[in-house]
Symmetry: D2
């Protein structure tokens, strides 16, 4: 391929946290360039944001429909390859469907849609159009998460028995949504965020991580969600007992009122022969404990001969040069880009490049929200995981 | 007081793990001397063990009844002050009751008895005799656990919202009870261990730690116990959702099949203003995270002006000279001994010395086992914590 | 500014480690675009590399002189803004001088030149031309390093007494330069690397970090360098006692034969009131210990109110989303770019943007190499730090 | 042996830090009983201290000479086996010589004597009398330190190249000796402490640890000591470059003005094949890094099959039940006691029991002080390590 992929962005104007992250992730490896944007519904913000990102003025839009219409009509040598959607949850579905209809590949910030039903429709649309969709479950972009998955897949730990995944944050310990915190406002608002609060925002990440590493699926669950801060409208805390299809038992904990915690996603997986521990705050380390030998510290790093190809493919630096959240995010974009390049070039993408979250993960994430909300309200212990 | 307290021991012969630990804990501070023992029902082991501990030959016994009879008849200047019982769980109750009846104070390894009913009888006996009983829930002997409790009690964290307590071990990852491991054999045997396996052995420690630090009680719970190793007779793994009386929500995880883990008890407690984290494998550190200022690392140490008197009272060394499990155990014995000294001297023991686990903790621990086993078998989500 | 800055690159063809790092760092924030390159003296590699980076074919060069000539002649709307030089050490000086002469700003990988004398000439040239030069001492791009510097500058720790800086790597534990390792080959070759091996490659980073954080300068030193692997031509290990101008005493340790270590740069600085510890392998944390209160854990994060503006300016994500080596590198480029933008726009760059390493650091680094080599060969204890 | 060993103590009255530590260490394993003491030269303190330790009133002395005279005249069944000397440094030699002359084995707190010359005389006396002497270099009592030593001895790391040992404390960051801190007062007083301050108090521990683990000896050194706190009379900080007999290079750092540090002794040793890291604040872990495989975490624990017999012999608990400083101290006493038991019983002590520091370590420690003080004052780079 002799050019960068062309990206358009919906949402992500100035001061929107996640839009900036997507742009860094897309920029990082020099495979993608931002060429157009409907960055805000506020015309002034859209214009300012577009200019500060050096967009051509005729490719700065104020509504996504116009953008998709006009960009679809561009000649091939200018036309966007894909659209990144970083609007609040309630505004994912419509632009995603339209983008696919117009022939663009799509990147969506998670959760994929506002409702499970939308997620299923979107999945059907992707399958029908044959286009590619990346759902940015960032944490599965970390090399040591991929290493963990491969070790389970290879049977290195034996049959998996236990999964403990936890995601404590503390930033919603106060009623910040009433104190001018815009992030807090939309994330705790059922009309913009969806059925669940913490469980949707971070519980889904923890759930995705657990299914990704184990290569297994949750079969039934028992949830206990809470609104810990009086006056809040959605859960800000919860815990879920889980049973996996292949027999493992799990616990998922997610909280946004774990006062003082930043973003301390962590997972432990135990099998017959050993266990693994990975924590996002020190993401380049995977501790592996064994029944019959001393624990080992596996470390991320390009060229590390002790790691699987899925891990090293997602490293840019040798061991000891820490890569972080933005690189994990960048790995999603890079793999998505490599797979699009292969499509465009008519070659076959590597299995490592094809390993990124998409509509299946999106549907399961939305189903997780539904099932957890249902279970939490139920007096029955177990709720079957339904899609 | 002008002499050491005199201890007799039931159980704890050669090669018994916990008996040796009790002796180290009792020896450490020079307040107690072992003077008699029915260390084994095997006469040869009893004799060998007693001699290696330098007991007078006439105070080496082979059954506890004889010991209690004869020792009770000794003159005051020789008579034992208290009896330590370190037999397997099923053999706690009878000697404990008899010791109390004979006028001896009692130390019992946890769980206090084989059944909840026995625990209640023992509690009644203690109350009736007015004697003192120490239940060795070791982990509450750590200075930083006491610090955590005081910080909650003082309201430093505000109202408590979340409690996460976990206790992973890996030593039962195989069916070791069939491979000649004596510890595994009795602990997984319902006839010697009781109704529960992991939940009784280590779940009760986690439960006790959670109630001790929060100063709160579990009101209802939802348990999911497992036998992960085929052929095993008691649970080797489980998780429990908990609701506390004052409104906090909790999760308790205990596993003896967390392959590769040693003894990784850890607790996190979050309130409105901050959260705390304590882990037994690095017990001299208490990390306190705050909503409004940087996290702090509190460190155990005699004379540390940033700690409560309950913490410093239980330190023997200045900061940076790590104290461990044996010192925590020693703290239980030391506080028990100080409180007995005060009784004997007719003085008042300090509140710090009186802070050791006793019959109430024993009854609640046995009730925890009953309620967890009941809940795990139930299709109802919530089981009210009944005693 | 209404466009990205235009970068040309000298060196950094396919498989060159550091060239790829520079490109990621330059790409990351969307402020810079690579427009031309003399990426290799091997025409085929140059061509291949240029194409894979999507350069226009007429801006792919095989020698830097041609590139600088031709690019200098380009019209303003196409002309490069700056040149990045990522050739081996011996090939920094000539292209840097020529680039400055042609009116380009310059980025150079450290060490700045092959000899101290060249460094001084380059410094004179920069001063004479008034152009800007960035020397990529990556580690001073980390937000928590900047935080540490500000805390010293603000007197938060009181007068500084001690500096311990260490940089263990293990990758040269074998005679890899004879086993086909190209990185090892040039870095251990006096003709390409310079007078010093480990002390030049990583000792200079440690030295720069110590002077940057303390805001002080080394006044005299006592070095003990070693060649630990028989057959090697340059030092692979060493230690240096240091005295700082303001009275602090320091120790610097650098080794490339610390078998098993990755890239474990770490610094500790102690003053009258407290001490700080920062380690590159967990770069988002700065531990601050105090004489009179509990130790604190400062954490990187955009918007963290407990950090100085120099730290937060260099964060892209909120706390708990780890940023790493590439972001630190990206901070150097970002600040360099922001300062160039200000120049071009005729505005004033912020003090935070102007805080990047340049020719002074380059000259001091080369002087460090000279002084350390001289001291190590001397029987005198102290060698005055001369430039 | 059918009785506990009988200990007498010189020094260590109420409020003396180290005396209490020695008693806990001696008590812990039930092999030793304190029977007599000249605990203070202040009669009231001596009496009070003795009574609170339950000594018979006729074995509470106020001067050590009387004690040694009277106790030497006791009948065999009452006579002390050994004397523990825990007076300040200047008062070690005289009682130690006299105790040996009277036929008692001896335990001395380090440093062994006030001067090197005394140390040599004491060594000669021990050799002449054939009695046993324990010098309490506590840190070599830790199981993972013994593990480290065995791994070096077994060649597991290959030839040793690097030794980095550091001992930061912060408690002398102020001029506490003038503010009523008795510990600070004698330790910074040349008349009571000796030629060196920090280098004598903690530098000797670091030095001993380095020589113990490597099994090697320092051949020459280059020291840079400092008095950082104005008004102090002895060094409170220093660093030493070292060359070992077998070719390794080392750095030793010791400071008592590393503000905020507790007692952070740490050592790293690197050989051709790998490196090890041990830190006293988390003493049950030994991290071993390898050139050719992932790093391993070795953990202390009775029965751990991955450890040498020297390590497991010095563990009392299974892995995950942290043992600390007091147990390390207790290991010195336990091994000393086991070796005395063997002597008394006419059997042979195990090689593990015989592994405790004695007069050779004492002489080398005193020589370290002399050589470091000499080197620090010298303008020559290297000072040959002379005894």
């Amino acid at each position: 391929m002799n050019r960068k992929l062309r990206m358009g962005m919906i949402g992500g104007g100035k001061d929107a946290f996640i839009g900036a992250i997507h742009r860094i992730a897309a920029n990082m490896d020099g495979l993608i360039e931002l060429k157009a944007g409907a960055l805000s519904i506020n015309p002034e913000v859209a214009e300012d944001s577009g200019r500060s990102l050096f967009l051509d003025s005729d490719r700065i839009y104020t509504d996504f429909k116009t953008m998709l219409e006009k960009e679809a009509a561009m000649p091939a040598e200018k036309r966007l390859d894909f659209i990144t959607i970083v609007t609040p949850n309630f505004a994912h579905f419509e632009p995603a469907m339209m983008a696919l209809d117009k022939g663009f590949h799509v990147v969506i910030e998670k959760p994929i849609t506002f409702t499970l039903d939308e997620a299923k429709q979107l999945k059907a649309k992707v399958e029908q159009t044959g286009l590619s969709l990346l759902l940015t479950h960032t944490y599965t972009g970390y090399p040591m998460v991929k290493q963990a998955r491969q070790m389970v897949a290879n049977g290195t730990l034996g049959k998996i028995r236990k999964v403990w995944v936890e995601y404590p944050q503390g930033w919603l310990s106060k009623l910040s949504e009433r104190e001018g915190n815009a992030q807090a406002a939309w994330r705790t608002d059922p009309k913009r965020s969806g059925k669940a609060g913490a469980m949707g925002d971070i519980g889904t990440h923890a759930f995705n991580l657990a299914e990704y590493i184990t290569g297994d699926t949750v079969e039934k669950l028992c949830a206990d969600n809470h609104i810990m801060v009086p006056g809040r409208l959605l859960d800000d805390d919860g815990a879920v007992l889980m049973r996996f299809t292949n027999g493992a038992a799990g616990v998922l904990m997610a909280s946004q009122v774990a006062a003082g915690e930043e973003n301390a996603l962590k997972i432990r997986v135990y099998g017959e022969k050993g266990g693994m521990e990975w924590a996002q705050h020190e993401p380049n380390t995977l501790i592996v404990r064994w029944l019959d030998k001393p624990a080992e510290i596996l470390r991320a790093g390009a060229g590390n001969p002790h790691l699987s190809s899925f891990a090293t493919h997602n490293c840019r630096t040798p061991g000891g040069h820490p890569e972080g959240y933005l690189e994990a995010f960048g790995n999603l974009y890079r793999n998505f880009a490599l797979s699009l390049q292969a499509r465009i070039d008519g070659t076959e993408a590597s299995k490592e490049a094809l390993d990124f979250p998409s509509v299946n993960e999106g549907v399961r994430g939305m189903a997780f929200i539904d099932n957890v909300v249902k279970s939490s309200a139920s007096t029955e212990k177990w709720t079957t995981f339904e899609i």
